[in-house]
Symmetry: C3
Subunit: 176 residues, 3 copies
């Protein structure tokens, strides 16, 4: 089995222009490295905060590269240039509101401005797309809140089996 | 007063084909039997996981049979054949996000995969439609989380008065 | 600096007809008076529960009067005449689901019927619009649940700086 490709999309004007050293992408990759027991490889893209560019990147990672999991970082706030949630919905079929609720609830225990996040999760065919914040600490908070449900979600949408390191996160699969 | 008709829709390919003994429908009916003090009668339909069939059943139960409450079970997950939430929104006017949030929060205290549920609640004219999971234990968790608000909701949308057994669930009606 | 205009919209058929002394508007104004340290002035409108009238009032307060914050009270329930959320979405660009979740969660700790509220928050250009319930006690519960994030939200959408009385509510602005 070749390693499972996992998409990481950094949505940031400044990072895309090289004006800024992105910390979101490395934080997402470090989290995946700690949590996944199944062999995988990152497919990283850094794109500007442009709705069409982000949407096209999701489509490529899902349809061409076959990533069962695509994590975006950045662009989820209320500002005009924050368009990651819109771009995600543009190319996904169905939304999973429970991810957004759980990530915001966990973030809200840390900062009251967590309610400003418009991050969401949605499915494109056999790919699960999850929007994450841009800050490393907030990325970990959000992934900790939802990752136990990610492998079973990918089972249900027809993706490959992913196993986790149970000391980091116990992936849950209901018996039946 | 004739008994109030309450719709129960089992959304399941396997149950509709008779390949499987459905446990969701009986669990919903048992819950209603324990909680409702007002005379009522179930109107049960078992339908395949087809968006149009589920939507048409909701319309019939609401508009023809006059059910003020319609409970669906099954078809709320992320898989391709799970279409109950889409079918519900196809024929309803307004969504009540608070029901979905409360049901997911209660379920999440039991299993981390609760965030995968896309279940929702919405109103069609004078009927309240609530999507429930397929498993009996999860059905009870969800109904326990929201049922206290169901009778007042039905008051507000012009349905008949429903009373509950206060030892099972204390229906809440604000004074005003 | 002239005082910052803040919009308050009372959505109520009875109040608009003068058949009823509205208590929502004064409760919103009293809350703002206690929480804001920055000079401000209320711009109050009382409108009927008509979708077009409410939407037009939001547009006027945002575009003509330049209110960075617009608070509505009333019209968020499941009844047919409750149309404030629809009117808000008609004239706003992006929704902030975290506000609605936090307000419902706080209200749910007080009354089980909090899940019936369809209140939401959304942005129109540089204005943040938040739907509130009609009852004074519920208004305070909701504003207490979200106000710490309001000033930073208005910063992010390009509005004026608002400061709060830290003894009432500590506005949070992340360092970065």
């Amino acid at each position: 089995m070749p390693p499972v490709p996992i998409g990481i999309i950094v949505c940031s004007d400044r990072a895309a222009l090289g004006a800024y050293e992105d910390r979101g992408g490395p934080a997402v990759e470090a989290y995946l490295r700690s949590v996944l027991a199944t062999p995988w490889r990152p497919s990283l893209s850094i794109v500007r905060d442009e709705r069409k560019a982000i949407a096209a990147t999701i489509v490529r990672l899902a349809d061409v590269e076959g990533c069962p999991l695509i994590l975006t970082t950045g662009g989820t706030g209320p500002a005009l240039r924050d368009v990651t949630p819109e771009a995600t919905l543009d190319v996904c079929d169905r939304q999973l509101h429970g991810f957004a609720e759980a990530m915001r609830t966990a973030s809200l225990a840390e900062v009251p401005t967590a309610i400003l996040s418009r991050q969401l999760a949605a499915i494109r065919s056999s790919s699960l797309v999850i929007n994450l914040p841009g800050k490393p600490a907030a990325i970990k908070t959000c992934l900790d809140a939802v990752f136990a449900a990610v492998p079973y979600c990918i089972d249900l949408i027809g993706g490959p089996r992913l196993d986790t390191d149970p000391d980091v996160c116990a992936a849950f699969r209901p018996k039946s």
